[in-house]
């Protein structure tokens, strides 16, 4: 049962995401309902897992992923994962409800909620990962989905900018993390989380410890927006507020914290950890709090406050005492609850008033008393006011700050730092509340403020109730959960701690109260001056804008890339190809000279003597190739014919050298290729020989041609030498033996090549025909928008001459001559149709045992169709035959894939084939293999793709006629 619950908790959000993606765009209720339901059911599953994680236990379920690399998909849950999972799903459900009311009816609800659910799934993946590499995969998935969510309103430039920055920073961190995880895997010898967690000493003693630590921290600190990587978080505030409430308070930014706690037992408690994590934490906490004070935007204030609180948690983790880790976990949960509710409240204010500017808002407590009360309580929790959850964890922090002073010299200043940060957080919380809700009612708001809909406020209420409940009775509400998580991290080393409200009069309490007083005092003193702060940025630090530095770095990077491209890039295709060929040539020659070489001693004398006819054949072949190369510039028709000649020679070579299947396919392909090129020629006018080349250009052109000729000859010579070197050696033992020996017993056919294609290597063939289908569709799509070049719009010159001649003759109508000339060929072609269909059927049916097969049959059949077009024109054929090539492509692919999937029904892997021989009276023994059905799919797809390409191209000639007939300008259709 545990396994099922665990899998459900991990998979439900993704299933929900898929479901939401399939909903109609505007189905807000359904999508939000689905999101909430997935989260709640997942939450139920996680809650039901308590017995599996209590008192330091853990549960795992594993699926094989890449067994050859020792990688498995492992879902593992222990107390820590359980607690974070509760946060992810619980706040996720509330955010879904909130977003239902926040998103405008015009926004695409299906996209929003499916992204939100997918993000929830990715977070669950991070939290429940039982393997380090798997954790990184989901980690990067959260970055990717956060990019899509932050940029949800993709029409806004700030949203796009913010999304791009968040992705660049966090995904770059993710790459570092991957490297760090691989290093850890190297040290431990396994990436399995349970194994890694048990090898703490080995990791800390390894010489690779420091690089691994730095890389892992690079991932964690970027994700958790620590200085100096914090700048993406304020920019990400362009996201819809539910996204900020979810990603930027409770989940995404906590992933970094989660990772540090997760790996705390193996990476922490060293000087390096203390310095790196502690410094980042202190810097972030102070910097974030200072900047938060100066924000005028509600969400900006919350973003910097989040940075500051994340810094606090990081600092706690850096302090290297088990108690401070307890405080970190506790504060993570508390921060998630009050910050999510504050973001939601800010969203409500924005939603109902139309602005988030603290300088414009005022006196909202009269218009929205309930929201005001909720926000005040949550902000008080953020400020650390007693009786609220924020107070408790801040007390723990202050206690740790005070207690830690004795251990390390650097800790001496900690109490002061902690008190300053606390005072600043009081200051910005107060500023938020005071300026939004108190004072005279604002008169110039874009909208008249009022309370939000009942259920939009509910998530805020729920979270605020949680803040208060935890603040009043911490042991009762969160004690067990915290205990489970702490024991999971430390096992037997788990420290004793007290979650009570009152610890007596002591130094932390005094610091706490002092911070409150100083914060209030500072606000009275500075409040008005902050509002009128001319530059908007924080005092002292306004020149230190990391986001601007980042932007400048990106611009510099782009410039550098362009500079490199200018220096090294070859924008021109010819130059690129020259470089490619040259490099290939040099590499091949180097390998040849330094490698095994073509030592003459290893050559054997060819067995088969030279047949003069074969030599003559290749004399023709070579001449055709050279002639094609020479004619391609000015005589394009001749070039096509010569190229066809070379093709025929290679076809005969195949037939000669025991490859009948290849010969059959090649000759059929030759036909369609030639038709295709001829059709293309219609739109490629003759190149004018008379274009003069400037005299100054002639020597350069001559040099270039000479160099190209040298390159071509060298390339040809190399390939010839290489082929001879291989052919003159005896073949090694390849894998051919397996195919030949098993072709009949395993594939039920005698034609090895065909059985290879449709049985042994059917998966390759499936891929190949998919490519063919895609190419067909691409051709269609390209031709649909085809605009012929202006100079080929007119009818070709021979047709024009013929038409002029026909007009001059009194007894001829236009088109007569063409019809006369085509009469005999057209009749022959019409009557060839049934013959070719029978030929195709013959090739198809015999393919399994004799040369033939699906590809050859398909092309033969398409030739039958294309001949009809050539004989009678597209209109004539369209009236008589309903050919739907796109449908053929789809059906072919469906049949082939369906046959493959069919083997699942029998519990076999994809594309397993079965065969039998059936005795049919009159016809004899007929082979019945499921591979034959697969081959049928190949035939259907090949016909569809080939006919589609040729006919789509041929139809272009109708354009002009159609446009003339309609008397309209050219229309864009194929």
């Amino acid at each position: 049962m545990t396994d099922e619950l665990l899998v459900a908790a991990a998979v439900l959000p993704f299933a929900g995401a898929l479901g939401a993606a399939l909903l109609p765009r505007r189905a807000r209720d359904a999508a939000a309902g689905l999101a909430g339901l997935s989260a709640l059911v997942g939450l139920g599953c996680v809650l039901a897992l308590i017995p599996a994680v209590a008192s330091g236990r853990s549960a795992a379920v594993s699926f094989s992923w890449l067994p050859s690399l020792g990688l498995a998909v492992t879902l593992r849950i222990d107390g820590l994962a359980w607690l974070f999972s509760l946060l992810v799903l619980g706040i996720g459900a509330l955010v879904a409800l909130y977003a239902r009311y926040y998103m405008a009816p015009g926004d695409s609800a299906s996209r929003f909620f499916s992204l939100l659910l997918a993000f929830m799934g990715a977070m669950q993946g991070v939290v429940l990962a039982g393997d380090l590499i798997q954790l990184v995969v989901f980690w990067e998935l959260t970055s990717l989905l956060s990019f899509l969510l932050v940029g949800y309103w993709s029409g806004k430039p700030q949203a796009r900018e913010g999304a791009r920055m968040a992705l660049t920073v966090t995904a770059a961190g993710g790459l570092c993390l991957l490297a760090g995880m691989i290093l850890i895997g190297r040290i431990v010898g396994s990436t399995d989380l349970a194994t890694v967690l048990a090898s703490g000493d080995r990791i800390r003693e390894s010489p690779l410890y420091l690089p691994a630590l730095v890389l892992v921290l690079a991932g964690a600190l970027t994700k958790s927006a620590q200085v100096p990587f914090h700048f993406w978080l304020p920019r990400a505030m362009a996201a819809p507020t539910p996204v900020s409430a979810y990603l930027h308070s409770a989940t995404l930014v906590k992933a970094g914290i989660f990772l540090m706690i997760r790996l705390y037992p193996v990476l922490a408690e060293t000087d390096a950890w203390y310095i790196l994590v502690g410094t980042a934490g202190v810097a972030t906490m102070l910097f974030g709090a200072w900047c938060a004070v100066f924000q005028h935007d509600l969400k900006g204030l919350l973003a910097y406050s989040t940075i500051s609180h994340l810094g606090l948690i990081t600092l706690l983790l850096g302090l290297d005492s088990t108690l401070s880790v307890v405080a970190a976990i506790f504060h993570t949960v508390n921060h998630a609850t009050f910050k999510a509710s504050l973001f939601m409240a800010a969203g409500i204010i924005d939603h109902e008033t139309g602005t988030r500017d603290l300088r414009r808002l005022s006196g909202l407590r009269r218009a929205m008393p309930v929201t005001a009360t909720l926000a005040m309580v949550a902000a008080a929790a953020m400020a650390g006011v007693p009786l609220l959850n924020g107070f408790l964890s801040k007390e723990m922090f202050l206690a740790e700050a005070v207690a830690g002073t004795h251990d390390r010299a650097l800790n001496a200043g900690l109490p002061l730092v902690a008190a300053v940060a606390s005072a600043l957080s009081v200051l910005y919380s107060l500023r938020f509340i005071r300026q939004t809700f108190f004072g005279p009612p604002a008169l110039d708001l874009p909208r008249a403020p009022h309370e939000p809909p009942r259920w939009m406020r509910f998530p805020v209420e729920a979270l605020v109730v949680a803040c208060v409940a935890v603040g009043l009775a911490p042991g009762l509400i969160i004690g067990t959960a915290l205990e489970i998580a702490v024991v999971a991290v430390f096992g037997e080393r788990a420290p004793a701690y007290s979650l009570s409200l009152w610890h007596g009069f002591n130094l932390p309490l005094a610091l706490s109260l002092a911070a409150l007083v100083v914060g209030v005092g500072l606000y009275r003193l500075l409040g008005p001056r902050i509002d009128t702060n001319p530059r908007g940025g924080p005092w002292l630090l306004d020149r230190l804008d990391a986001a601007r530095l980042f932007d400048r770095a990106m611009v510099g990077l782009e410039r550098g890339a362009r500079w490199l491209e200018d220096r090294l890039g070859a924008a021109r295709l010819q130059d690129q190809l020259r470089i490619l060929l040259l490099v290939a040539l040099v590499l091949a020659l180097t390998a040849l000279l330094h490698g095994a070489g073509i030592a003459p001693a290893t050559l054997r004398l060819p067995e088969a003597g030279l047949d003069p006819a074969f030599a003559l054949l290749w004399l023709v072949g070579g001449a055709s190739a050279v002639a094609a190369a020479a004619a391609a510039k000015y005589q394009r028709l001749a070039a096509i014919i010569f190229a066809g000649g070379a093709g025929l020679v290679s076809c005969i070579t195949f037939a000669w050298l025991s490859a009948p299947d290849l010969a059959a396919t090649q000759i059929l392909i030759e036909v369609v290729t030639t038709v295709l090129l001829l059709l293309g020629l219609r739109w490629l006018p003759k190149r004018d020989r008379s274009i003069p080349i400037p005299a100054s250009e002639k020597p350069r052109a001559r040099r270039r041609r000479a160099a190209d000729l040298a390159l071509a000859v060298a390339f040809g010579a190399c390939l010839a030498g290489l082929s001879y070197a291989v052919m003159a050696r005896p073949a090694g033992e390849g894998i051919a033996r397996f195919f030949v020996e098993n072709v009949y017993s395993g594939g039920g056919g005698r034609n090895v090549v065909n059985v290879l294609l449709v049985d042994f290597r059917a998966f390759d063939t499936l891929g190949e025909i998919t490519v063919l289908g895609i190419v067909g569709l691409t051709v269609l799509a390209l031709l649909r928008r085809f605009r012929p070049a202006a100079d080929s719009l007119d009818r070709p010159a021979p047709q024009r001459r013929l038409a002029a001649w026909e007009r001059a003759q009194p007894d001829r109508n236009p088109g007569d001559s063409m019809a006369d000339a085509m009469r005999v060929p057209a009749t022959v072609m019409t009557w060839l149709f049934p013959v070719l269909v029978v030929l195709a059927l013959h090739l198809f049916l015999r393919g399994h045992d004799l040369p033939g097969g699906g590809f050859a049959a398909g092309i033969a059949l398409s030739i039958a169709f294309v001949l009809q077009y050539m004989a009678h024109g597209a209109r004539w054929v369209d009236e008589r035959l309903a050919i739907r090539p796109v449908t053929w492509i789809g059906c072919g692919l469906l049949v082939a894939a369906g046959v493959g999937a069919g083997s699942w029904l029998f519990g076999r892997p994809f594309l397993t084939t079965a065969f039998a021989y059936a005795e049919i009276p009159g016809l004899g023994k007929i082979p019945l293999a499921s591979a034959l059905l697969f081959d049928l799919g190949v035939v259907v797809l090949v016909v569809g793709a080939t006919v589609l390409m040729l006919v789509a191209l041929a139809r272009q000639s109708l354009r002009r006629a159609r446009a003339e007939a309609a008397g309209l300008p050219q229309r864009e259709e194929a």
Binding site: Q574, W618, L677, G680, V753
Partner: protein, 114 residues
């Protein structure tokens, strides 16, 4: 036989390379076709040359691999033939569309600056 075929492959490849280095896209299309022949024959030749031994079992029992030409390169080349047709078609259509849009049949989509 081997030497002749090797020379033939070399000739086809040389003609193909010469053409794909030309500036006009039609020349490149023909060049790709010729290069395709050369490569197909090259791959085919890797299975060594046999005369009169097509890899079609004379009878179900006669499954000694030494009796037949190597079927594997043949199967590879068979699909390559079909794919190279698709490649030619795609290239041709792209070049037609590019010529319609750019007004030039130069491979770079514009006439070179003199």
């Amino acid at each position: 036989m081997e030497a002749v075929l090797a020379a033939g492959i070399g000739g086809l490849a040389a003609a193909g390379v010469w053409l794909i280095l030309r500036p006009r896209s039609f020349q490149v299309a023909i060049g790709l076709t010729l290069l395709g022949y050369a490569v197909n024959l090259f791959v085919f030749a890797m299975g060594r040359l046999r005369v009169g031994a097509p890899p079609v079992l004379a009878s179900p029992e006669a499954n000694d691999p030494t009796l037949y030409a190597d079927p594997l390169p043949q199967a590879l080349v068979l699909t390559a033939l079909v794919i190279s047709f698709a490649l030619t078609a795609l290239f041709l259509v792209v070049l037609l569309a590019a010529r319609g849009i750019a007004g030039s049949d130069h491979v770079d989509g514009r006439e070179p600056d003199r």
